[in-house]
């Protein structure tokens, strides 16, 4: 059958109900005309005159019927709102996908496999069934899926997995069936079809095989598995692209086995180069100062996802408009980053004593970060309240690190406890503002000793993997002593530093009390004034170490 013929047949299969209804309506209207014409004029006129009210009554009846049917029979719930899109309408090419070269490479291969499915079938290869995109949110999984659809030139059915989930058992499975049916029809006409299921973890989590397990989710997932397997012997070229931010191991094993999601594409946060490209890409879309160096911006946005980068540019555009500027400058982008990172300034009014204590607290963080941290620069210091904090020192790593060494981790602890030391040195007392700092410092120190073998007593290994009741009390005591020692050592070091550099310490506190905020350049200038050069530029060092979770570099009071 020709391509046209197949499409015609597909449309016929797809819309036969509509066609049948239209044909019936036309026939009925024709018969009505014939019937009415054969009536005597009086009856004809009566019928015509009463037609509007009859139609109104019919419409009311229909509405009531549909309402009752939906409410009582629940027949309407299995309807799915699948967005069926033609590849041409999606129109996102691989060239439009900025960065993520490895993911693109993987995806490109997939596109080739989809396109050459007939060749693949000829040599006996199995058609690709599914691609699973894994990665943090906002990294472009959906965007990449659309690019795959465009490049493959196939219809694209997009649906969120949460749309399958319904209170009523069986509705989700019914929706999955309908989705696959529609996809197969499109595949028949267009030679293939891509189903994109976003947030796959909503139905794809490990199934619970007990009486309390969500049987509806299980049924939906089972149907999805069956749909992907193509057990109904229809070997149409239907590819399922799933996307999730959930960890891979939280998904059901059956989903991940070959024959379902054969390929896994990891879409990770962009690296420095990709971030620079993304800044350039998004800045292209807005009017901006041509002197903006995207490389600098990329360095500022370490760990940011493409969505976050886009948000920074959008926010800077808003700030520019508010300021009445024609173009976005570096300053607005910086403000946007600050607003996103630190939050909006709030109007809490601190008393002078409080304000002074916060200034010294933050100065402690600032001094130790600048002088002792091997990787982080101080991007900004502020004693203006934001979100829940009264002040903030915002550090930024100079470059991207995927592992953290002992020095860097220790420096993190030092930065945390520096606020306590600073308060004690200056006021001979401490505040509740150190609570979050101590929590953070303690956690890091605990991990160093218990998990990373960095304790001073030489206990090596991950003691947290052993159930606590199997650990000897002596070991636990030793380990806890080590944790304490690390904290104490860090504190001593901070104290020595702040005493030694008391002049600078007082100067920064004073500057903060006067200016409220200090920018990177101002901070750098003051240190330079006292003959202190940036140790990360003039003597950085580092070793390999895996950064543990929760090591937030931001220090807030």
């Amino acid at each position: 059958m020709s391509k046209f013929g197949r499409r015609f047949k597909m449309n016929l299969m797809n819309h036969w109900v509509k066609l049948a209804i239209t044909l019936s309506v036309v026939i009925m209207i024709g018969l009505s005309i014939w019937g009415m014409a054969s009536l005597e004029s009086y009856y004809r006129n009566i019928t015509l005159a009463t037609m509007p009210i009859n139609m109104l009554m019919m419409a009311v009846n229909a509405v009531v019927f549909v309402f009752l049917y939906t409410m009582v029979m629940q027949g309407g719930f299995s309807k799915i709102d699948t967005k069926s899109v033609n590849a041409k309408e999606v129109n996102i090419k691989f060239s439009d996908v900025v960065g993520m070269d490895e993911a693109k490479e993987e995806a490109w291969e997939v596109v080739q496999l989809i396109k050459d499915h007939s060749k693949l079938k000829k040599i006996g290869g199995k058609i690709l069934r599914g691609i699973l995109m894994l990665g943090p949110p906002g990294c472009g999984k959906t965007y990449l899926a659309k690019a795959i659809a465009t490049e493959a030139g196939l219809p694209f059915l997009s649906m969120s997995a949460s749309e399958f989930v319904e209170v009523f058992v069986g509705v989700g499975a019914s929706r999955v069936r309908k989705l696959f049916k529609k996809a197969r029809q499109l595949a028949y006409g267009f030679g293939g079809c891509i189903i994109f299921v976003d947030e796959l973890d909503a139905v794809g989590r490990n199934r619970a095989f007990n009486q309390f397990g969500g049987s509806e989710t299980n049924t939906t997932l089972n149907q999805l598995l069956v749909g992907m397997d193509g057990l109904d012997s229809q070997q149409e070229n239907v590819i399922v692209i799933g996307a999730t931010n959930a960890p891979e191991d939280s998904l059901d094993a059956a989903l991940l086995r070959p024959g379902r999601f054969d390929r896994k594409v990891y879409v990770v946060r962009p690296n420095l180069e990709d971030r620079a490209k993304m800044f350039a890409y998004y800045l292209e879309k807005v009017k901006h100062d041509s002197s903006i160096d995207v490389a600098v911006l990329a360095r500022k946005a370490i760990g940011k996802s493409p969505a976050e980068i886009e948000n920074i540019v959008k926010e800077s555009a808003l700030i520019s408009v508010r300021k009445g500027l024609d173009v976005i400058t570096y300053k607005e982008i910086t403000e946007a980053v600050e607003r996103i990172e630190l939050g909006i300034k709030n109007k809490i009014k601190m008393n002078p004593r409080e304000r002074e204590m916060v200034a010294y607290h933050e100065t402690g963080h600032l001094m130790v970060t600048y002088l002792l941290h091997p990787r982080d620069d101080v991007f900004k210091a502020s004693i203006i309240p934001r979100r829940s904090s009264l002040g903030v020192v915002h550090p930024t790593p100079r470059e991207e690190w995927f592992v953290h060494d002992r020095e860097a981790i220790s420096a993190d602890i030092k930065v945390c406890v520096a606020s306590y030391v600073a308060e004690r040195l200056k006021f001979n007392t401490t505040t509740s503002g150190v609570s979050a700092d101590f929590q953070h410092a303690m956690r890091i120190a605990h991990q160093m000793v218990w998990k990373l073998g960095m304790g001073p007593s030489g206990y090596i290994g991950d003691y947290s993997s052993i159930p606590e009741n199997q650990l000897a009390e002596t070991i636990k005591t030793k380990l806890n002593d080590d944790t304490n020692k690390i904290l104490k050592d860090c504190m001593d070091e901070c104290e020595a530093l702040l005493k030694k550099e008391n002049e600078i310490f007082e100067r920064f506190a004073h500057e903060l009390l006067v200016k409220d905020e200090l920018e990177y350049d101002e901070i750098e200038a003051i240190f330079n004034e006292y003959g202190k050069s940036n140790p990360r530029i003039f003597g950085g060092k580092g070793t390999s170490f895996d950064k543990g979770p929760g090591t937030d570099s931001q220090q807030k009071t």
Partner: protein
């Protein structure tokens, strides 16, 4: 976008449907209405011999039935057992069915016509034994309003005028019509014995008609088209029936055409004298209006001029005559009957009046005698005689007594309320005032009521006393 297009397409489809259907002309027009009506009666309801006439805005339908009433009226009356005359005039179920069928056909046709008919008259006639006719007269828009539930059936029934009439010409026509109907189907001998009072002789039935009777056996495919049948009273039970006909036939095989008196397709005219003999109507004499000359050519008989026969014939009534009905007169008759029923059914009036009669007419002034009297008017004659009046007639009551008597006032109010309600219901405005007769002892001072005051009375802003007191002298 697709939905919008579909909606537009659907609307266009509906519009074209309405245009297709709604822009068609009326089903029955002036040319075909009579023919179609007869056709519907015959084909759909198997009712034959229906005649239809249109005069002005009135359509008349004639339905002849061999038997209309359940009882044999003549026998019942002669038996002396009948105490209630109304019980004699109960139509047969079969007659009732035919009546309803023809009435329904009439309604269908007039409502689907565009010739502006306003009234219908249905004559259901007993043509075999009594010559009685039930005549129903109705206003066509009432049919529409009844079907559209604008007026209830009970109200519609009140609006139709029911009359019983006697048309003896129908009885005299029967033997003549039946004779020509059966000619060719029964033998000449049978025809003579059934339809004639005695075996006819050439002298009594005329040589021409005698030839017709005797030559029937030589003709095949005989068809007699009765073009005109008229009748009138002669003496006593005798009637004269004038017939104009066209006779077509073919000579039977073996018959010499020259042996037949006149050729096929000849137009003939006769006057038949019909008499009641032993309770049946029979032809006693036939007077031809043609004769055969010595060349066997049909020639018209020259009657003496002083007879003015042909002129007279034109004035003879048709067995089915209708007149264009006037709306005002129709309402007046209807009102008179409604009021009479109202008074008869009202318990208070029955208890308090020895006589309560109302008559109403719709009249035209012969000449203009004042600005208010240019238009036609309704004249209501009220004759009320309260039981406690002590006199034979309200006219004899002292001046002003009529309006002082509560019962009379009540009866008059009942009558006037019915009048204003019915008139308003018809939205009839072709009258200038209402004349009230017979109320006041000084009858020479009959008075008129203006339309404005009638409207105030209808709105209950005037009571009956105030209404009458506001009357103007005539």
């Amino acid at each position: 976008m697709i939905n919008q297009k579909l909606n537009i397409a659907f609307l266009l489809l509906l519009l074209s449907f309405a245009t297709f259907v709604g822009c068609g002309k009326a089903t029955y027009d002036e040319q075909n209405i009579i023919k179609e009506m007869k056709k519907i009666c015959l084909e759909e309801y198997k009712v034959s011999d229906v005649e239809v006439k249109i005069v002005g805005k009135t359509i008349g339908v004639f339905l002849p039935l061999e038997r209309l009433f359940e009882s044999d009226i003549k026998k019942m009356i002669l038996s002396g057992k009948t105490t209630n005359l109304d019980s004699l005039f109960v139509p047969l179920p079969d007659a009732m069915d035919k009546l309803n069928d023809v009435l329904f056909t009439t309604a269908r046709v007039v409502l689907s016509s565009d010739i502006g008919l306003e009234f219908y008259q249905l004559y259901v006639s007993d043509v075999e034994s009594t010559g009685l006719q039930i005549v129903l007269t109705g206003y066509i828009p009432d049919l529409d309003r009844m079907r559209m539930w604008d007026i209830p059936h009970s109200e519609y029934r009140k609006r139709v005028l029911h009359d019983l009439k006697l048309n003896r010409a129908l009885l005299w026509e029967r033997p003549v019509r039946n004779l020509f109907r059966d000619a060719g189907k029964i033998s000449s001998f049978e025809a003579l014995s059934v339809y004639f009072s005695e075996p006819p002789k050439p002298l009594t039935v005329s040589p021409l008609f005698y030839n017709f009777l005797t030559e029937i056996q030589n003709k095949k495919n005989l068809k007699i088209d009765l073009q005109t049948v008229k009748g009138r009273t002669y003496f006593g039970n005798q009637g004269l029936i004038y017939v104009k006909l066209v006779e077509t036939y073919e000579p039977k095989d073996g018959t010499n055409p020259s042996g037949i008196s006149y050729p096929s397709g000849s137009e003939l005219e006769y006057i038949f004298i019909v008499d009641m003999i032993e309770e049946t109507f029979k032809i006693t004499q036939v007077i031809p209006l043609y004769y055969l000359d010595e060349n066997r050519q049909l020639k018209k008989i020259a009657f003496p001029k002083e007879l003015d026969l042909y002129q007279n014939l034109e004035s003879w009534p048709d067995h089915f005559e209708i007149e264009d009905i006037n709306m005002g007169e129709f309402i007046a008759i209807q009102l008179a009957r409604r009021m009479q029923n109202l008074l008869a059914e009202d318990e208070r009036i029955r208890n308090t009046m020895t006589m309560a009669q109302v008559n109403i007419s719709y009249l035209h002034h012969p000449k203009d005698i004042g600005p208010i009297r240019k238009e036609p008017y309704f004249s209501i004659q009220m004759d009320f005689e309260p039981k406690n009046s002590g006199a034979g007639n309200a006219k004899e009551l002292p001046s002003g007594t009529f309006l002082e008597n509560e019962d009379t006032r009540y009866a008059a109010a009942l009558v006037m309320k019915e009048f204003v309600d019915v008139i308003r219901s018809y939205r009839f405005s072709q009258y200038g005032y209402v004349e009230i007769l017979g109320l006041h002892q000084e009858l020479s001072k009959n008075f008129g009521i203006s339309l404005e005051n009638l409207e105030l009375f209808r709105k209950k802003q005037l009571n009956i006393k105030e209404l009458f007191e506001a009357g103007f002298s005539l």
